[in-house]
């Protein structure tokens, strides 16, 4: 069975500092990995995905994520956080034609 874990309920970071939101997954075979962001009272917005190829994936709003097969991780990163990045972030995984499985989400709080 597929699963994804986001070990931190909340991540706090000062504006201008680098941020990391952690995600680990469990899936047999090759994973398809995604990051979504959710702002209050809005639906999820797609940030980036890893399907195959380069392990470092660049996405929207300056975010990037690194696929690490040996550690089964897909951590979301940004070199310099903005207050406007404060939101709920979801990691998701699926295998080929299977359904997308979401983590429980990590709330990112960026302080000015």
């Amino acid at each position: 069975a597929q699963s994804v874990a986001q070990p931190e309920d909340q991540v706090n970071v000062a504006e201008g500092n680098p941020l990391t939101v952690k995600c680990t997954y469990s899936v047999s075979g090759n994973p398809y990995l995604f990051w979504y962001v959710q702002y209050p009272n809005r639906g999820l917005q797609f940030l980036l995905k890893y399907i195959t190829g380069d392990n470092l994936v660049k996405g929207s709003y300056g975010f990037e994520a690194e696929f690490n097969k040996s550690q089964t991780s897909f951590h979301l990163k940004k070199p310099s956080a903005l207050v406007s990045d404060s939101a709920l972030y979801f990691c998701a995984v699926r295998r080929w034609t299977d359904k997308l499985i979401f983590g429980t989400g990590t709330r990112l709080q960026v302080f000015p």
């Binding site: 995604f34 639906g43 999820l44 797609f46 399907i51 979801f90 359904k99 429980t104």
Partner: protein, 113 residues
């Protein structure tokens, strides 16, 4: 490009009543999804359509939930009768096909009292 549209945005009903949600996907997107997001959890897939055919409804409580996608475009999700535990945000998403990223609508927040 217009995004995924959903209505209503909010709905409050009493238990045992029925409710319906509507979704209009991004034009040209063949795949449509309905998710249930309970407070504090990630979205859970209820049903996936490819055009107007059901691909996956394994997590849809079929005794009370139903969904259809007529003509392969708009979709409706119905709950009848509603239970307290159905209180959640119902998200609709669409994608060009099952391999592509999914784009989500704003959701419908359902409160069952």
């Amino acid at each position: 490009e217009a995004g995924v549209a959903q209505s209503p945005r909010y709905k409050i009903i009493e238990k045992r009543q029925s409710v319906a949600f509507w979704c209009n996907p991004i034009s040209g997107h063949a795949t449509l999804y309905w998710y249930q997001q309970i407070l504090g959890q990630g979205p859970k897939l209820l049903i996936q359509f490819q055009n107007n055919g059901v691909v996956d409804d394994s997590q849809l409580p079929k005794d009370r939930f139903s969904a259809e996608r007529l003509k392969g475009v708009d979709s409706t999700l119905k709950i009848q009768p509603a239970k307290l535990e159905d209180s959640a945000v119902y998200l609709c998403a669409s994608s060009l096909d099952w391999q592509r990223a999914q784009y989500f609508g704003p959701g419908t927040r359902l409160t069952v009292t």
